[in-house]
């Protein structure tokens, strides 16, 4: 990498952080649109989950099952907080780890499937998660889990680092900063991962698993690793989402959400780490903006989507950044 490229990259990251942490809150304050905090938190969380889906695309698998892990992560966090009185902050990594562990169990057999089979079985997985949540007693069936307390304070050596969310005048401001911080961390991690040795191995899996195997790579272990990281992201995103909504139902994440996570990745472009973020932002706001069109909302939305895929089948990022293709 030349020094100039490095300079551009650092400037890009700096600009992104400034926009997300300073410019957006200032703009919202200036426009008196505090409701946007909730919308933008949702975008951040959905893009975390989409980032996980993107990673499974990166190893050459079409994953339509992220809704399952978002739901499981949400339930784990909700149950730990309400039934066991655990702090939200502790339940968040636990939800992610639980999803990762579950995905290892599920992934070992189903990652042997390729192409459309994997896509279809992950789609079924979303339905399994929803039906299990309905049937089990720990998830309280169709009634779901409601009035989940807001996250409490984090203290270190008697010093309050993060105050309890209830003390904020506008709870959603706190959730906004939480969501975008986690999003920035997740995508930084994802970017680092893709550009590491393991990332190269993942890319090798996408191009040809048999060839990669003949080079001495432990293909099944790498596949499961990628899937576990992907599900971890799904679980974390789901857990924070549940904390914002303060409730979770079996229908909180459905097949539609799973398909949307996949669409976010497609729209942003599968060759770009930050594609899912852009894709989520565009799809979510596109949907919101079309709200005024009333009954024609879905018709226009899907029509635009079809047009986009016709004109830009390789994602939005392929428009402006042809030289940064990572594949």
């Amino acid at each position: 990498m030349t020094p100039m490229q490095r300079g551009t990259r650092i400037a890009g990251i700096g600009a992104f952080l400034v926009v997300v942490f300073i410019a957006v809150p200032m703009a919202i304050a200036a426009a008196h649109r505090t409701d946007l905090y909730y919308t933008l938190s949702s975008v951040a969380l959905l893009s975390i989950a989409s980032g996980g889906v993107w990673l499974t695309f990166y190893i050459g698998r079409i994953n339509i099952g992220q809704g399952a892990f978002a739901l499981v992560g949400g339930y784990v966090s909700a149950i730990l907080v309400t039934a066991y009185g655990l702090s939200f902050w502790l339940s968040l990594p636990l939800a992610g780890l639980f999803c990762a562990a579950a995905s290892v169990l599920v992934g070992l057999p189903i990652l042997r499937l390729r192409g459309v089979y994997f896509a279809m079985v992950t789609l079924v997985l979303t339905e399994v998660a929803r039906l299990s949540a309905l049937a089990l007693s720990v998830t309280n069936g169709a009634k779901g889990i409601t009035s989940i307390p807001a996250p409490g304070p984090i203290g270190l050596f008697g010093l309050t680092i993060v105050p309890a969310f209830d003390t904020f005048a506008e709870r959603n401001v706190a959730f906004y900063f939480l969501s975008v911080t986690v999003m920035a961390l997740c995508f930084a991690g994802l970017w680092r991962l893709v550009n590491s040795r393991v990332g190269r191995l993942f890319a090798a899996l996408r191009q040809n698993e048999d060839l990669a195997s003949s080079m001495g790579l432990n293909v099944p272990a790498l596949r499961v690793l990628a899937y576990a990281i992907s599900s971890f992201l799904g679980g974390v995103g789901g857990a924070i989402f549940v904390a914002i909504a303060q409730s979770i139902y079996p229908s909180s994440f459905t097949v539609n959400d799973s398909v949307n996570f996949m669409l976010n990745c497609f729209l942003g472009g599968l060759g770009y780490v930050f594609g899912p973020m852009l894709g989520t932002l565009v799809l979510y706001f596109g949907w919101d903006l079309l709200f005024q069109t009333g009954q024609y909302q879905l018709l226009i939305y899907s029509g635009v989507m079809i047009l986009l895929i016709l004109l830009l089948p390789n994602g939005l990022f392929s428009l402006r950044l042809p030289s940064r293709r990572s594949s």
Binding site: R114, Y117, V121, V128, F266, L298, I306
Partner: protein, 288 residues
């Protein structure tokens, strides 16, 4: 028990016909048609309009359903899928397109036909009773028609020129092209045929279960499951998958009734275990 098996066969015949269309499109175009359930719903509504509202003969309504969907399928293939397959770097992009088409049809159906559950008057009255087996005549007729269509489809694939061309296309696209098969044309025909089958089942089933605009997605998921059980892209597999799912559903609803609404959960879990042992389904061929 006879009742359960008869219900399973009746369901299976419908399901097999749905799965056939999906697997045909997949085999020819390598496209997973997310919009298959929506095409089924559209077929149901066309029959509802023609037979239920206009009171024209049922056969006319079925033909109208089939024709509408065939034309729609041909248009979708010609103007959407063909373009995207040509321009896209990764073939997964067709899935995005298919999902977009599914949403679009969902929205269009909702706008055109409303969100109400629609049914039509019975095509046949009376009930067939034999020992402790009870089946309404219209169900028997619908199941019989479905089996007739399946047989006709198989005969067409086996013995006619378009059928042979489509089988060649499914086996090896490049080789078929080199042998002088007009690949693009038969891709179009295949897509239209697959969509037509979905429309036909929709038209058949509207006489029994009715139709509403929200069932497209769940029907697609069921169709995916049948294709997975039998093996994607294989005609025999789709038929087997359809009958197996119909039977599982019928038996499951009876046996597991006491434990609450867990039939589908059980079927899903069984399917995942089955696929772990046999990743390509019953008859599917492995591919990368």
């Amino acid at each position: 028990m006879e009742q359960v098996i008869a219900n399973g066969l009746y369901l299976g015949a419908q399901y097999a016909l749905i799965a056939l269309g999906l697997t045909l499109i997949f085999a020819l175009m390598n496209v997973l048609n997310f919009a298959h359930g929506q095409m089924y719903v559209l077929g149901g509504f066309v029959t509802y309009e023609v037979y239920g509202l206009l009171h024209w003969p049922f056969v006319v309504a079925l033909v109208a359903s089939a024709l509408t969907l065939a034309v729609l399928g041909a248009l979708i293939e010609r103007f959407l899928f063909r373009t995207v397959i040509k321009r896209s770097e990764r073939e997964e992009s067709t899935m995005l397109l298919a999902a977009g088409v599914a949403y679009f049809l969902d929205a269009a159906i909702l706008l055109l036909f409303g969100e109400k559950q629609r049914g039509v008057h019975k095509i046949l009255n009376g009930v067939f009773i034999w020992d402790n087996l009870i089946l309404p005549w219209d169900r028997i007729l619908v199941a019989g028609l479905a089996i007739l269509f399946i047989v006709a489809f198989i005969l067409m694939m086996q013995f006619t020129k378009p059928g042979r061309a489509m089988r060649a296309l499914a086996q090896d696209r490049v080789a078929a092209q080199l042998m002088g098969v007009p690949v693009a044309f038969y891709g179009l025909i295949g897509f239209a045929l697959g969509a037509m089958l979905a429309g036909l089942v929709g038209g058949l089933l509207v006489t029994i279960t009715g139709v509403n605009s929200g069932i497209g997605g769940p029907i697609s998921i069921k169709a995916f499951m049948m294709v997975m059980i039998g093996g994607a892209g294989v005609v025999g597999g789709a038929i087997a998958g359809g009958f197996i799912l119909g039977m599982l559903e019928s038996v499951g609803l009876t046996v597991l009734h006491a434990y609450g609404d867990i039939t589908y959960l059980a079927i899903f879990v069984a399917l995942m275990i089955f696929l772990a042992i046999r990743p390509n389904g019953l008859m599917g061929k492995p591919w990368g």
